[in-house]
């Protein structure tokens, strides 16, 4: 009895993947993935292109079927009961697939039906989605005539028309101007404050830092680090970074200094960053030309994956 209760508390997960493998020919796009997201939290899935983020998203909607492993979404096994799960989730795809020939309102009306919003509630649901997208005044504009930012807001609002309990955002701000990106962040933040579970893949570090309660770093089809942004930074790269800009010869010297002090280093274009600098008294003296800055999630990402991100 009590063990069962513990179990029920334990399954209050928005979604979970256990040992999931998905191959495409010789490519292991998802390779032993374990990931769960607690209900009501936002998880940022951080990874370079090809890390397996989009495949993971497709697995959650049963638009890709795993070769191995178990997937549950909102407590429902996927793909077995994927349809029930999809009825309660909203998906914002990476690639805009709005019907550009239709008006903003028509796009929302179609999705209100696809998501089975009852007839009596449809008008209200569409009205609410228009407000979310801040497009009430443009309801009868053809999507083709909207700006890029408006389209992306509509793409997000379209996924919310049925008040989903879980929202998947696949690179929600890729290719957008910085100010448009900030508008969308406010939208995602509002979702989280309403208690909606959010899984957001991104390769923008700042986006994950700003929006996610928890970050999972994905590399070669699996999660290689998981935690709050702050905890990940402290655990993997410490608090302070010393950065030296200089010609290649100087950068090699700096890397040598780091090695001798037992500190990890990483290259960032024309500079070398010495991580965990707070743990060594001497290293700052040895690098008088260094600029000190707080460690950040990008340091973690590059250190762990060896890959560059934006």
């Amino acid at each position: 009895m009590s063990s069962q209760r513990t179990h029920e508390v334990a399954v209050d997960l928005g979604l979970s993947l256990r040992g999931v493998v998905k191959t495409f020919g010789a490519l292991r796009a998802v390779d032993g993935l374990d990931l769960d997201v607690r209900s009501g939290t936002c998880l940022g899935l951080l990874g370079a292109n090809g890390a397996g983020k989009s495949t993971t998203m497709r697995l959650l909607t049963a638009q890709a079927i795993a070769d191995e492993g178990e997937i549950e979404v909102l407590g429902l096994p996927v793909p077995a009961q994927s349809k029930q799960a999809r009825a309660q989730m909203g998906v914002v795809p990476q690639q805009d697939n709005l019907d550009i020939e239709l008006t903003v309102r028509q796009n929302l009306e179609v999705f209100a039906r696809l998501y089975r919003v009852p007839r009596a509630d449809r008008a209200a649901a569409v009205g609410r989605a228009l407000q979310v997208a801040q497009l009430t005044g443009r309801a009868d504009t053809k999507v083709d005539d909207l700006s890029g930012g408006m389209r992306r807001r509509l793409l997000i609002a379209r996924a919310l028309v049925h008040r989903p309990r879980l929202v998947l955002l696949d690179e929600p701000t890729v290719g957008l101007d910085p100010q448009v990106r900030q508008e969308l962040w406010a939208l995602v933040d509002a979702l989280r404050s309403e208690g909606v579970t959010v899984l957001m893949s991104t390769h923008y570090i700042e986006e994950a830092e700003r929006l996610a309660d928890d970050v999972a770093i994905m590399h070669a089809g699996r999660v290689i680090a998981r935690g709050t942004p702050t905890a990940l930074v402290t655990e993997h790269v410490g608090r302070r970074v010393l950065e030296v800009y200089g010609p290649p010869a100087r950068l090699l010297e700096v890397e040598q200094v780091g090695r001798e002090a037992g500190l990890p280093t990483r290259r960032t274009g024309p500079a070398v960053a010495v991580l965990r600098a707070e743990t060594s008294y001497s290293v700052a003296d040895l690098l008088p030309d260094a600029v000190a800055r707080p460690a950040n999630l990008e340091d973690v990402f590059v250190l762990l994956t060896g890959e560059k991100v934006e």
């Binding site: 909607t61 638009q63 349809k83 029930q84 009825a87 795809p93 019907d99 020939e101 696809l114 089975r116």
Partner: protein, 264 residues
Amino acid sequence: MSTPARSAPALRRIEPSAVGAVVFRELTMYRRYWRSTTFSSIVEPTIYLLAFGFGFGSLVAQVAGYDYVDFVGTGIVATAVLFSSAFPGMFGTFVKRTFQKTYDAVLAAPVDTEELVTAEALWIALRSGIYGAVPMLVAVGFGLQPSWGMLLVPPIGVLTGFGFAAFGIWVSGIVPSIDSFGYVISAVLTPLFLVAGTFFPIDGLPGWAQSAALLNPLFHCVELVRGAVFGLELADLGHVLALVLFAVAMWLLAVRRLRSRLVL
């Protein structure tokens, strides 16, 4: 004490609400482009009707026991149904799947591939039932006698159109690019519509070609339309059966093919 964690509504395999939602999308789109679709779906068969009607009609008075205008005015229904079902099935489905990614959005909603295919084929079929009857009405203007049996022609068009729409959807999942439809049109559709007993009776063809025509769904459509307009016979049940079999087979192929393309 195991209560289900969530009260999930039971969703059936093919839900009318899912099919209805996809059809609603098509209907909303159709309100934008109905003029061009209607134009090409009606004008093209009507041109065939006039060309053959006047061209052949002046040479032959009677074909297979019919006045030529009666013969071609009923046969043309199958051509119109074919044009207005196979083409949207092929091109429309291909564009929505590959370029617009519409189906990715639909399948992320609680809609499965079989519902998507059913909805797309059904919508095209309903349209082609109407479009199919129009050239016949034009033929009435040229002397085809109106009859109550003509009311059966739209349902026959819907049944035939469903099969050819599903055929188009199936093919759209096979071809590597949109240009490849040219092969299908030339090698499959053109022979089908020429050797269906539309413009000339198949009795004059060699024996093997007559047997082959029995495998042509359009032949069964033509026979059924003539039966409806000039008097049904028991043999027409066989034509209905052939069209039903065709529709079911094409639906199965289309669902399987599209699922393999949409679900990785």
